[in-house]
Subunit: 322 residues, 2 copies
């Protein structure tokens, strides 16, 4: 019988743990809330508890899991299985030996990977990128992460950090990014940029936009989702913002195509849920800016696996490293 | 005895043909001038004549060449061996079946490749990139071309067009590029951009720059080399231009590092001959803009094989495809 792997997706507000088979199917999954202010030791203990309970769950009908993959939203040392920088968690997890802790507690081999690289692998093997040879995955949320598949394999590069698509500079005169550079795609098109454009639009339009209505008149309640919803409902200001965001994303993706000539680009993450109000300006921008790669042969697709892509990818990564 | 390959480098002003062994050494080489206004049929006849004469040259001491690699400065269909677009040659070589013509005339298998991808392969195997695993090659001249080595192999991508580094957009508000987009690295940092900045500097400084002196007071004689020479001699205006060019190149290379995390970047082409006046601002920009890739472990090196890289790479490509 087909062996199982255990996948862990460490998010900013939750931990997901799942038992996954080689076809990418989830047999059992558990999700627990996570406090960003918790010490990393406590969070790791929580992961270990969840993994132990999953492994012994009678719902697996006696099927054995023999390895673990963990995806984290930050920079890691893949070889040593140590986290180097997870910006959204307390203490930034600098130098946390996650692999040693988890392997020690569960006596199973573990691999550590970046969460968006896990998302990319899952979409490539089982989702929107199925059948592709060279694929790029993008996850657009509070940041923009990415992953590269070259010749059917995840390309991780030196120190395992390849794929930082969000930090491609597309406007040398642009705003400062969290990374320290100016004009990265992430600084221009992730949800904080969308919210900031929307707040300004609400102020300048004296509230005459559906964004204000959907945020119940409270600027603190403006989110990328509010803007996307208003855009879908035809609100002028919201459409204008999504057009601009789609333009920036289109330019960034155009750069990926010029450089890598992939056959497929899969776009996921919270912001991508906006759907056509975002994909339409992305496609329009690609038509205007792609001159070397064969755009008509390249699929630009929405992610298909939803929030499960992270755990499925982490578990699949563990299997692939067997 | 080690077999030989014949390499052809079709430039904008010359054709080079060489017999190359598996260590990348050139046994014999012939270079002939090329008129851009010549019909492609005549140019192909010239290539065939040069290849025939090289193959029979007694200087090879009876060693046999059994395959041919041809590098061209443009877009190609690698699978069919057809040129799609060579901007600097008459008629732009749209749909020229180079492989069929040459294989028919010489009765030897031929591979067609982009010239900068050939340069990249040669530098990777025998030049500045030796020992690398993931390398990026850049050739900066009248345009900016590139090539990618991933896991020791040239990554050519869909339709063989991966590596168009010059068409990475780094300034969405920048000047129009020859490709049709705005703000590509090539539009900002290749020799036409350098010359245009220099001509303006000469005008605005009322000739009080060494650039004017080295161009003998004739604005039509200003070249990227003139500017580099003036910068090396400490001319304020020329240094400022090279700083700006190095900044743009640094931003583009920073994008490559964020995306691919290579262990080595090799920079060649006419503009790169400027040396430290260009490499110093590139390195300074990388320090300011690289935040995810491990910059201290990545070699940023000048190309080592000079103008021979093209023929060596083309011949090596043919061997590798055997």
């Amino acid at each position: 019988m087909d062996k199982l792997s255990l996948g862990v997706d460490l998010g900013g507000s939750h931990i997901s743990v799942a038992a996954v088979d080689s076809s990418g199917a989830i047999l059992l999954k558990e999700v627990a809330p996570l406090s960003r202010n918790e010490e990393h030791d406590r969070i790791i203990d929580q992961m270990i508890d969840m993994l132990r309970s999953l492994r012994q769950n009678p719902g697996l009908n006696g099927r054995q899991a023999d390895r673990i993959g963990v995806g984290v939203p930050g920079v890691i040392d893949m070889d040593r299985g140590v986290t180097l920088f997870i910006p959204n968690l307390k203490g930034e997890w600098r130098g946390v030996p996650l692999k040693d802790r988890i392997e020690g507690a569960l006596d199973m081999p573990m691999v550590l990977a970046n969460d968006v690289r896990c998302f990319t692998l899952a979409e490539f093997r089982f989702g929107a990128g199925k059948g592709s040879t060279h694929m790029v995955g993008l996850a657009i949320g509070t940041g923009i992460g990415g992953g590269l598949i070259v010749n059917g394999k995840v390309h991780t590069g030196l120190d395992g950090v390849a794929g930082e698509i969000g930090h491609i500079i597309i406007d040398v005169n642009g705003p400062r990014c969290g990374c320290g550079s100016y004009g990265c795609m992430e600084a221009l098109a992730a949800s904080p940029a969308i919210v900031s454009m929307a707040v300004r639009a609400v102020r300048q339009s004296a509230g005459a936009t559906k964004i204000a209505e959907y945020a119940e008149g409270d600027l603190n309640k403006v989110t990328a989702e509010t803007v996307a919803r208003a855009a879908r409902d035809g609100d002028f200001h919201a459409v204008e913002i999504m057009d601009r965001v789609g333009f920036y994303l289109g330019v960034g993706i155009s750069n990926l195509l010029a450089l890598l000539s992939p056959d497929c680009v899969v776009i996921g993450g919270g912001v991508a849920k906006a759907g056509e109000v975002l994909f339409e300006p992305i496609r329009k921008t690609l038509k205007a800016t792609v001159h070397t790669a064969p755009l008509d042969k390249i699929r630009i697709a929405a992610a298909q696996l939803g929030t499960d892509a992270g755990v499925i990818g982490a578990a699949t990564w563990a299997m692939a490293s067997a």
